[in-house]
């Protein structure tokens, strides 16, 4: 140690403000000063090696998640301005191989009670079990692993990133609504791909689709951007997709290794959906409905790039704390933690309806976008998929099937 980088992100360049914020930080994360109170929210991320861009238009992003949290702070702080509430972000980025316990300790020392945990599943579980974390709420803004909502659920963890089950259910509803019930499932070699494929299989069973072909992708990862790269792909993809008839090719390729090569190259002329093509996602740059234009514009102005699903999930986390503080007129961490989990909590997340946390596993219920490469295609739940509580609970693991014990 300490390889961690700690920064205080402030919404203005003023040195006086910086000094003031620092004095306030020394005294803990919630302070009263001339009617002003400050809430410091933690951000715990990991240094990640971005995957090589598959196409020339792909942006290489190294700060996804963090930028969403920063925008959330800016939004909370603008609202807080009228209520005497200030919001700040304290960020720690873990180096490769570094465990999160020390960062959690630092947050605890600083009196931080809410942390955007932009971590993979194993790190998230370690962070949630670290000393000091028992008094915090960690927001999982990164990992879609269903086991984190099932047997791996934790009392001090809420999830703002949709689970794989939610994504698969959302896509399945759309495909079934379209009448594309026969699927060719093509699955990549990585554990995430396998987990996503399992979610697609579960969704097919739930919503009455049939997986007529279920195949692994066995070709080596290629570099389609080499000169004449398309020639190789033009031979390989038809061979790999030479199967019996189906309505839609559902691809599970979370790392974006081959899925994008499929569209326009399959043996049969069929739509590609799943992790590429027609994608189910918590957020997409193509969305401008339900007021999303404003969020997209604010984000682009701040970050200089499109808002990604992990940015949106981090934004949701920070905005949830702000919304609770606004409604309660208070920065009391215990009251906010309780309110977040209550029936009354409802967050406006630019998806056309209020978002809330499921009491049985801490997952934020939310509409899932069905996005094409350039335009929004749809949003699930689809009309006609009914539920006794809310149609949003047709997506993901429902109360009755939950194995989470909080």
């Amino acid at each position: 140690m300490p390889t961690s980088r700690i920064q205080h992100v402030l919404p203005g360049p003023s040195r006086i403000r910086l000094a003031l914020a620092f004095v306030m930080l020394l005294a803990g994360a919630v302070h009263g000063l001339a009617g002003q109170q400050t809430m410091v929210i933690g951000y715990l991320g990991e240094q990640r090696k971005p995957p090589p861009p598959l196409g020339p238009l792909d942006e290489v992003v190294i700060d996804d998640g963090l930028q969403g949290a920063r925008l959330g702070i800016a939004d909370d702080d603008t609202t807080g301005r009228f209520l005497g509430q200030n919001f700040r972000l304290q960020q720690v980025i873990l180096a490769p191989g570094e465990t999160p316990a020390e960062a959690v300790r630092q947050f605890a020392t600083a009196g931080i009670s809410f942390v955007v945990a932009d971590l993979d599943a194993a790190q998230l579980l370690q962070a949630s079990a670290a000393p000091g974390a028992e008094r915090m709420t960690l927001f999982n803004s990164r990992d879609p692993d269903d086991s984190l909502r099932q047997e791996g659920c934790r009392r001090n963890v809420l999830h703002t990133i949709p689970s794989r089950a939610m994504l698969a259910d959302a896509l399945a509803q759309y495909l079934v609504w379209k009448g594309w019930q026969h699927w060719f499932l093509l699955t990549g070699p990585h554990p995430g791909d396998q987990a996503m494929a399992s979610a697609f299989r579960r969704a097919a069973t739930r919503f009455g689709a049939r997986i007529t072909v279920d195949k692994p992708w066995t070709f080596r990862p290629a570099n389609g951007r080499a000169d004449t790269g398309h020639v190789t792909l033009q031979t390989e993809i038809p061979a790999a997709t030479q199967v019996g008839d189906y309505d839609v090719l559902v691809v599970a390729d979370e790392v974006d290794e081959f899925g994008a090569y499929l569209s326009g190259r399959t043996a049969l002329p069929r739509t590609v959906a799943g992790t590429q093509g027609l994608v189910a996602t918590g957020w997409s740059a193509v969305d401008e409905e339900w007021g999303a234009t404003q969020l997209q514009d604010r984000f682009r102005k701040q970050a200089g790039r499109w808002m990604l699903p992990s940015d949106y999930a981090a934004w949701l986390a920070v905005k949830s704390v702000g919304e609770a503080a606004t409604r309660l007129h208070s920065l009391d961490p215990a009251a906010i933690a309780k309110y977040l989990r209550s029936d009354d909590f409802l967050l406006a997340g630019f998806k056309g309806q209020g978002l809330s946390f499921r009491p049985w596993d801490g997952q934020m219920r939310q509409p899932i976008l069905i996005a094409g490469p350039r335009l929004l295609v749809s949003s699930s739940p689809q009309p006609g998929f009914l539920h006794q509580r809310t149609p949003l609970d047709t997506l993901g693991i429902d109360l009755e099937e939950s194995t989470c014990k909080l």
Binding site: T79, T293, H329, L346, A348, Q353
Partner: protein
């Protein structure tokens, strides 16, 4: 022949004094639909800028102002010519605005910049701005012209602005994602609708205390499907009408008791509503079904829906 008889009947039955025209902004068509109220027919569509939403008449009712969200301007429509004859600056991304009772100024919400801009109509320039919360949207002005109200969607507040000094008087917390604001006819109350929470909050304008909260129960529709959007007040002050968005209903509210008298089933996703001059008819602009609904308030029934274009949003009734 039948048409001719109908036409003659219409001419006899409808005196020219009540001839009214309904203007509907179609946000996905970039047009303003022109509808004759008496015959309930679509007359024409005025080509305007991109993504027209908020609209308002000039004080002399000869001009219609239309906010063009994607063109960052307000189009000036000459109602006699039925065409755009000029433009006003609006600041970025105008959605909703109000014309000040003095007829000289427009107060416009700049959704992307967290600002309210004040536009001098004659000089066609912005003469002031006011910092408000995130994503300002709904705008209202009191009848005496002293106070302008602006809602901010992501901050969940209504901001009260002194129209003279352009200072913020107060910032009142309301339910999540407020959309429209409206002063009561006597100016003693301010009503604010909340889209996500599906409520209307009522404030006393003198004390600025919350004096009422209206919830909407729509049979067969869940909480998240009931979203309060546009508000229209009757001239006698006794009734308010609130569009309930995805619940496809317009609520009629008793302003004394804050109780919902009845719900009118209209087209899909009504955004805004407007009352005819004689107060006998209410028109709703229905965003998802691409039509407007005519509600006969005397007989309490929806009498017609008329396709007007794609994405009807704002509705204004003029001469």
């Amino acid at each position: 022949m039948q048409t001719l008889i109908a036409l003659v009947l219409v001419l006899i039955l409808v005196p020219p004094a009540v001839a009214e025209t309904i203007y509907v902004s179609n946000e996905q068509d970039n047009t303003v639909a022109v509808v004759d109220r008496a015959t309930m027919t679509l007359q024409s569509a005025i080509e305007v800028g991109r993504r027209p939403r908020g609209m308002a008449l000039s004080v002399d009712k000869k001009t219609l102002f239309v906010a063009e969200g994607d063109d960052n301007r307000i189009d000036v429509v000459d109602l006699a010519k039925r065409q755009v004859v000029g433009q006003l600056p609006s600041g970025a991304d105008p959605e909703f605005f109000v014309v000040h009772p003095d007829g000289k100024l427009i107060f416009v919400a700049n959704e992307n910049d967290n600002l309210v801009s004040v536009v001098d109509i004659a000089g066609a320039k912005i003469i002031g701005t006011v910092d408000v919360g995130v994503e300002p949207e709904g705008m209202a002005v009191s009848a005496d012209g002293r106070t302008v109200a602006c809602t901010s969607e992501t901050t969940s507040m209504v901001h009260l602005i002194d129209a003279g000094t352009l200072e913020l008087i107060d910032n009142l917390l309301v339910d999540t994602r407020p959309r429209a604001a409206a002063f009561s006819v006597d100016g003693k109350q301010l009503w604010v609708s909340s889209e996500i929470r599906g409520t209307v909050t009522v404030f006393d304008t003198a004390t600025r205390a919350q004096t009422g909260k209206i919830d909407f129960e729509v049979p067969g529709i869940r909480r998240e499907g009931v979203q309060a959007v546009g508000i229209e007040m009757s001239r006698d002050g006794a009734t308010a009408y609130v569009a309930l968005g995805p619940a496809n209903r317009i609520a009629e509210i008793d302003t004394k008791t804050f109780t919902v008298r009845r719900l009118y089933l209209v087209g899909q996703r009504p955004w805004h509503v407007a009352l005819s001059d004689d107060q006998k008819q209410l028109i709703s602009a229905n965003g998802n079904s691409g039509d407007i609904s005519f509600i006969d308030l005397e007989n309490q029934e929806v009498v017609k829906s008329l396709p007007v274009g794609r994405g009807p949003w704002g509705v204004v009734i003029g001469p």
